[in-house]
Symmetry: C2
Subunit: 197 residues, 2 copies
Amino acid sequence: MASATPENADKTAPKLRADARRNRDKLIEVAATAFAENGVETSLEDIARKAGVGIGTLYRHFPTREHLVEVVYQRELQILADAAEELALSEAADVALEQWMRRFVNYMATKRGMASSLKIIASSNSAMFAEGFGRIRSSFDKLLTAAQDQNLIRKDIGQADLMHAMSSIYSIPDTPEWRESANRLIGLLMDGMRVKR
Amino acid sequence: MASATPENADKTAPKLRADARRNRDKLIEVAATAFAENGVETSLEDIARKAGVGIGTLYRHFPTREHLVEVVYQRELQILADAAEELALSEAADVALEQWMRRFVNYMATKRGMASSLKIIASSNSAMFAEGFGRIRSSFDKLLTAAQDQNLIRKDIGQADLMHAMSSIYSIPDTPEWRESANRLIGLLMDGMRVKR
DNA sequence: AGTTTAAACGGAGGCGCCTCCGAATTGGAG
DNA sequence: CTCCAATTCGGAGGCGCCTCCGTTTAAACT
C-alpha cells in the first residue's frame, strides 16, 4: 500500500531538515508494512534496517514503540479518508460508498491483531483516537449524502446507522473467514439501502 | 475463561532432586527480597546471580517472570498465615489479633507498588488468588474467634466485618503517610472492638 | 564400594531494547 | 560559492531476555 503523495506538509511540523523528513517518512512507510505483516511486536531494529537508517534515527523520531504505532495508525486513517475523496470522483456515488466500505473492512482486518496495543494507546491519548474517529465519520457522511442526493440510496438512513452496522461487523469473532463474512454483509447492507426502481 | 480443573496435581511435587530443591528455595528467597526492594521489574539475571545459580536454572524452575512472582506471592501469604499461629500462642488473644493486623498492613504496603502486576496474574490464574484470599480469611477468623471466646472482643463483630475494614484501609490513596495512617486506623478499630469493662 | 543414568546445572550466544556521542550533513549567512 | 554552526545521523556498547546443549551430579542399582 503506497501513499499517493509523500508530500504531506501538514501537521504541526516544526520545520524539519530535509534529510530528517526523508528518513522519517521512510520509517513510517516501512513500519506500516512491517506492522501489517508481523504485528506491532516487530523488531524496531528490523524496521530501521529495512528503512536504511540507524536505530538511533528511529528512536530520535519515535521515542517509544507506541509513538511509532500511533503515527502509522494515523497515516492509514488519512489514506482511508483520501480514498473516499478519490472514489467519490471516479465512481457512481453508490458504488463509491460500497467500495469504500470494503476498503474500510480491509483496514479493520489488519488492525484486528493489534487491538490490544491500540487500546493501550487509546487510553493514554484519547484525543488521537477521537480525531481518527471523526475523520472516518466525515468520510462516511460525505459518501452517503452524495449517494442520497443522487437518489441512489434510501434517504431514511443516516451516517450513524452505517457506522453502527460496520461496528457490528467488527464484533464478529476473529476466525479465518472473518473477511469473507464481513464482505458478504456489506453486500447485503448495500442491497438493502439501494433505492428500488 | 472458565478453567474447570486442567490442573495436574503437581502442587505435591514430583520429588525434586536435593540440589534442585535447594536452588529453587534459594531463588524464591532472593526473589522475594529483590521484588520487595526493586519491584517486579528486577532483572531476572540479577536474581539468579544473587542466588548463586545460572540463569538457565532460574528459567527451568520458573518459565516466566509471572511464575516466579506468583510463587513469591504465595510464600509470603503462607508466612503471614504462620505468623497468625505463632502470635496466637505467644500473646493474649486481643493483642495477637492487633499485631497480626499490623503485620497484614505491612504486607499490603509492600504489595502496593506491584498491584498492576498482581492483577495480571490474578486474571490469568484466579484459582491462586482465591486460595490466598482463603488463607487470609482463615487467619482472621481464628484470631478473632479466639479473642471473642475469651471475652476480649465484642461478639457482634464478624470476620467479614474485619476484612471489610481492612480493605477500606487499603483503598486510602498511596501517599508516603499511608502506612502511618493505616496503623492509626487499626488502633481505632481495636479500641472500638474491645469489650469495655 | 563402583557403575549407570536421568535429572539438573549453567553459561555462551543470539536477539532486541535503548542510550550516547563523534561523524556527517544541511542550509543559511557572508 | 564558501564557510560554519546547528542539526541529524548511525552504530557501538551495555543490558536484559530467553534458549540450547555439553557438562556435572544426585541417587538408584549391582
